[in-house]
Structures are given as structure tokens and as C-alpha cells.
């Protein structure tokens, strides 16, 4: 993770792009890259999405890479470690959705959100 953070900083600085990379703009770029993942899945059935052909999987891998880059860069700008933030959120979600209440229920799941 630290190597990745350093590589992203160098990439941005080498191109003098910090001026464009405000947290506001990075949040927008993040949403655009996520949509490129969604685009791959929009007309597939759930079944098909569980079993992608190799070429499509390779394309989705690139999009996941792009989302990760912007997420790490946004978090870095805000002084946040995304892995630590995720671990903390798994704990919070664990209390928010108690196993005995939501087990196997999508409707409950939705309502609890």
C-alpha cells in the first residue's frame, strides 16, 4: 500500500497535476471510474457477472486499478489510510447489522441501511 501511495504521488507530481487534484475533483474522478466498472456489468445477469470471460475480466481489472488509484489518492490528500478506514467500518457495520436480525434477508438489509 505504501509503495502504491508513493507511486501515485510521483505520477501526479511529475505531471504537475496536483493543481487539478483537489479532493472535490478526485471525488468526481472516482465516481467516473466506478461507472466504468458498472458499465461492464449493466447488461449482464447476476449469473453472468459471476463468471466473466478472460478478456472482460482483464478489462474490469484495469478499471478496478483506476478506482483504487483515485481512492488511495483522495484518502492520501485527506490524511486517511483506506485500509484502516475500511477495518474500522467493518466493525461499525458489524454492530449496525446484527447477525441474528439480518441473516439471509435482503429486505431487512435494505431497510437497515
Amino acid at each position: 500500500m505504501n509503495d502504491l501511495r508513493v507511486a501515485i504521488r510521483k505520477f501526479t507530481e511529475d505531471r504537475d497535476w496536483q493543481q487539478f487534484h483537489s479532493p472535490k475533483n478526485l471525488a468526481m474522478a472516482l465516481s467516473v471510474e466506478v461507472a466504468e466498472i458498472v458499465e461492464h456489468f449493466q447488461w449482464l445477469t447476476e449469473e453472468q457477472s459471476r463468471d466473466l470471460p478472460p478478456q472482460k475480466l482483464a478489462e474490469v481489472r484495469e478499471e478496478i486499478g483506476d478506482v483504487m488509484i483515485y481512492l488511495v489518492e483522495l484518502a492520501d490528500k485527506l490524511g486517511i489510510d483506506p485500509i484502516e478506514a475500511a477495518k474500522a467500518k467493518v466493525e461499525i457495520n458489524g454492530q449496525k447489522y446484527p447477525t441474528d436480525l439480518v441473516k439471509g434477508k435482503a429486505s431487512k438489509y435494505t431497510e437497515y441501511r
Copy 2:
């Protein structure tokens, strides 16, 4: 990262939610969580987004955690390591946007995309 992956798997399995967590659905959930980050920035100036008050920063940190959780889970379902995918993409982007052509230019930047 591996600890996080394991924690997310456990969280999902304990609630019997794998049935809902197809890659298609996870891509949708990822886009919804990213929008919750965007929501924090939508009416701020770029300047304000660089200097969030502590309460707002704590909220954004939670949303970054949620995005990271769904990104790691989606990647895990597809057999992808998001950090490796991001490192590979930084290399690709480095060749796609040569320093001497795009340095300090947002317009070029956009056109090159």
C-alpha cells in the same frame, strides 16, 4: 490488506449475504457508496474541499471505508488484488500520459483520456 479481505468475507458469510453479493450487485453498491463521498463535496469550493472541518473529515473517512470494503469484496470475488491492479495501472497510465506532453495541462489531460 489480507486481514481486511478475511474480515469482509467473515462479515458477509456470518449474515448469509453471499447470495446477494454478485459482482453485478457489488458494482452497484460500490457506485452508491462513492456517491456518498461525492455528496460531501458537491457544494464545496475546491479550496474548501482541501481543508475539511474535523467532523466532516470523520464522515468522509467512514465513506472511504465503505468504498474500500466494496472494492476489496468485488475484487476478491473476481480473484483480483486491488493493490496489484492499481500498481499495474499506474504503469499503463505512465505510458498513456507522457510527462512532456501533458505536464500542467488540464485540457490535454482531458483530451488524452
Copy 3:
């Protein structure tokens, strides 16, 4: 449509919110409201999404209203009529996806994009 445009202008001006409603910010707000539609569908099967219970349908109707508001306002700021823009795009799409090549094919559909 014209009544709607006028009502939105009045709403924004009465609150002195034109200062925040740049096209950039309206595009962000539009994406946030669309995510609120997506949120309603993320854990449903396609079948379930075709047959929403009345309460959920009423909620989705409100979200569609919000998306329409921001879309009309963004278009208005740019001097665009969204209905005319959509009609023109249906024509373009008609030529882009010739009936005989794409009929009944989701894969072609995706590739053609």
C-alpha cells in the same frame, strides 16, 4: 416542461442558491441523486425490480423527481432543452446500433458502445 423549468428557477433564486449551482456542481448533484435510485435496486433481482411494492415505488418516484430536477436545471444553465437533446440522441443511436446487427443481442450491444 416549461412550467417545470420556471418552478426550478424560482426555487433556486428564492434561496439565493445560483452561486452554488454551477454546471460542475449540478453534475455532481445529479450523480448523487441517481445513486439514490440505484440504491433502491442494488439488492433486488431483475424480476423484483419489475414489480416494486407500492411504498418502494413511491420512494423511487421521488428520486426520479430529484434526478429530473437537476437534469432540467443543468440543461437550463447550458441553454439545452433535454427533450430535444434526447430526441436528437435517439436518432443518432438508431444509426449507431443498426437493427439487423444488434437485434436481441446484449453482447453486441455492449461491444457497440
Copy 4:
């Protein structure tokens, strides 16, 4: 609006695409098209977004057309008129954000959401 609705129905039926156009999938497609609007604005300042060059404006017009198409089609599938839904929502928002409390305030605006 009715002409547009009819043209979209014909476009979809001619290609036998109703099978792919579940409300769930249309919500995904809508979010993908909105991201293509956001992409045009992500590296612009708010000032620049208020004054687009003609070529970019023409591209944004096409994206607005695409968003409108999917919004009208999704609403049509659910038996909703998007203009009526938007008018009803302007009324609701008018009560939710009282003029005297939120006038000229982005922070209040955000908190009220």
C-alpha cells in the same frame, strides 16, 4: 414528452432489447450515462463549467440526451411521468428547505439534506 416516450419504446422494441431493460439494469445504465456528463466537468473550475466552448457543449448536450433517454425509459417502465414527479418534488423541497432558514447558505443546505 409523449413523442419522446414513444420513440424510445420503438427503439427498444425494434432491437428486441426489452429483455435487458429491467428497471434494475436501466438504473445502472442511467448512472453510467450521468458519469459521462461528470467526466466533462471533473477537471474544470466552476468558472470554466459556466462557459463551455462550443465543441464541448455539443458533447455535453449528447450526454444529457442519453441521461434523459434512460430516465424517461426507467420512469415509463415504472408507470411514472418524470415531469409530474419533478413538479411534485419541487413542492416537497420547497417545504423541506424554508427560504428564511437556508437563504444563501451552502452549509445549511448541506445539513438540511
